[in-house]
Subunit: 363 residues, 2 copies
């Protein structure tokens, strides 16, 4: 009797003092991570994906697993997010893998390659086409474990001061565009430029550059490019779907209890579908406002698309010659791509195309 | 000193006895739910979404929150899953909301309506277009709280014994098709039939019916329809994206601790993107095998699509006249649909259509 009473009292004391038992502590430890986003808070849709992820993880663990989100520049610049994860400065980041093509062009497959997969097809490749495993095998070299964490959908081709009517119009074109897309355009005589978001507007205004790509209507609207470069081209053939990822330091990932790994996996999946949904819900209104504000929508001419596609294929062949990682993932990716569009041309595209026709006739 | 030692010893004793403190017990109780799927295990992609969901919830809670998944018929027939949730026979189900249009046609908006949204647009509507809130307000009448939980993408139009060349060919057509799509076809003289999956093959073989719709290549392949009805039509205009939902009994949802609600929300989001990815990854191979097995792919003629679209709009007007819930959601849905296709015709469709063209030229 005396002993039972002793335990009861002690138990109450423990609860008040919030001392967990070892068994419980093992599966629900207090964990604090930092996550650096590659994006500013002003890009609230893309930056917001990290917040959606962090909030779900916190709620799922009753606040025991806290992932504090930092905007680009608060800890490290946006383009150094992967480095910060690799060297353990932060446990995790939310970023676009293709920002790191300077380290290795293989990083591009995590986000988008010119004339690649669309958003849904990327998810199909990541989750059920072996893509995420291939990427993680590659990221391992950088101490990174990754999970898909959002998509923008097909981006716009960007803002041009003059119309692009023929392939020859690309020759000498100074365009703010990076990564593999810049290298593709270089083959056609363009001069790709690396310019930070905030500097694009004055560069377009002064004519220091002729064109600039950013994201899509919802994000582009905030920067007001329609006032200085009225021709708004589509599609952004270099990102048929631009996937974002959560990068996690491998050692930190391995340290997590299994239940926290499951929570992180589920929350990343939710953030993935949620971010695409947010862009899809917000882009139409922004597009309409941009058009009312003077943006003139233009599709890239077919001959331009074809020339760029040809140049992209040449670039892939060149890179693959000297880069075994790139070649391995390229082969798997292109094989998957072929299958995807074989299927897409049947039900998906026919439905979409009919609906576009039917709804535009209505107004 | 003595007091600290006392607590330490008692703490060890508690750990060995696995007695949790009240605060911890409150947030991680042992919970056991049953989930009835509306689908048989043989439809492993769609049925699998419930398993993916259940497994993540279990892993995220160290097995404390167990959701046992039952195939259609094990507890209740597939088409009574919502009733079982409503009356508390089970805590949850994984189902297609449009199975319940017999109770109220408003249920259709949870899955698909003819000439509605595609898969991504449905997610945009659910998560960021106010759709899920509207649906949950409606489902409340049935004691149901719901979360999006998967999508098939655009389905195929089904298997036909004879070609459909004109609208007149729909007249008298006996087709296995249900819900609002059946009512649309009825307006054009077709005779919709309700036939369980296993009975479709013999009905097509004997000519008791002229046509049957099922899902898409990956699921259709298992039933071998290509042997008895060679014309494989597309697109399934009645389900541009067929969304699945997890239905949860409202009282059971309210009883869950907040952290379990967060885990369920995240796991459902993961299952949502994962199921679409699985279908997208598996459909192309199945389509190729079906074509090799004699399936003859046919797009519905434009005049047939247009006549069906017109009939669908008439049907919506008729239903909305007497059904305030239907009208309220229809208006919101159609407004959202208009915006979506306005945007879709720009970057998304142009990219997809170019890629279809470019990859089919390659082989």
């Amino acid at each position: 009797m005396k002993r039972r009473q002793f335990i009861k009292v002690a138990g109450a004391g423990l609860a008040a003092g919030a001392v967990a038992s070892p068994a419980i502590a093992q599966s629900s430890p207090e964990v604090k991570w930092r996550l650096t986003s590659s994006f500013p808070k002003s890009l609230d849709t893309i930056y917001g994906a990290a917040e959606v992820f962090s909030k779900l993880v916190s709620e799922a663990t009753d606040g025991k697993f806290q992932i504090q989100v930092f905007a680009a520049g608060e800890i490290v610049p946006g383009l150094q997010a992967a480095d910060a994860v690799q060297n353990g400065t932060v446990e995790s980041c939310h970023t676009a893998s293709y920002y790191y093509v300077g380290k290795d062009p293989t990083f591009a497959f995590g986000t988008a390659v010119p004339f690649g997969l669309n958003s849904r097809q990327e998810n199909a490749w990541f989750y059920h086409g072996g893509g995420q495993d291939l990427l993680n095998e590659f990221y391992k070299k950088y101490n990174i474990y990754s999970l898909p964490g959002g998509n923008t959908g097909t981006q716009m081709g960007g803002w041009f001061r003059k119309e692009v009517k023929t392939v020859a119009d690309l020759n000498g074109l100074k365009m703010r565009i990076g990564g593999l897309a810049g290298r593709v355009l270089q083959k056609l005589g363009s001069v790709p430029q690396q310019i930070a978001g905030g500097d694009i507007y004055p560069a377009l205004e002064k004519g220091t550059i002729d064109a600039a790509e950013w994201v899509g209507p919802f994000d582009d609207e905030k920067l007001g490019f329609n006032k200085v470069a009225p021709f708004y081209y589509y599609p952004g053939w270099w990102e048929g779907g631009a996937a974002l990822h959560f990068f996690i330091n491998q050692a930190k990932w391995a340290e997590l209890p299994k239940n926290y790994q499951a929570i992180v996996t589920a929350a990343a999946g939710y953030a993935n579908v949620d971010m695409q949904a947010k862009y899809d819900a917000r882009n139409p209104g922004a597009l309409r406002r941009l058009a009312q504000g003077g943006a003139q929508l233009r599709p890239f001419p077919l001959e331009v698309m074809e020339a760029c596609n040809k140049a992209a294929n040449e670039l892939y062949t060149e890179i693959a010659k000297d880069n075994a990682d790139f070649k391995k993932i390229l082969d798997a990716y292109m094989n998957f791509r072929g299958d995807q569009y074989l299927w897409w041309r049947v039900a998906e595209a026919n439905f979409d195309n009919f609906m576009i026709r039917a709804t535009s006739a209505r107004g």
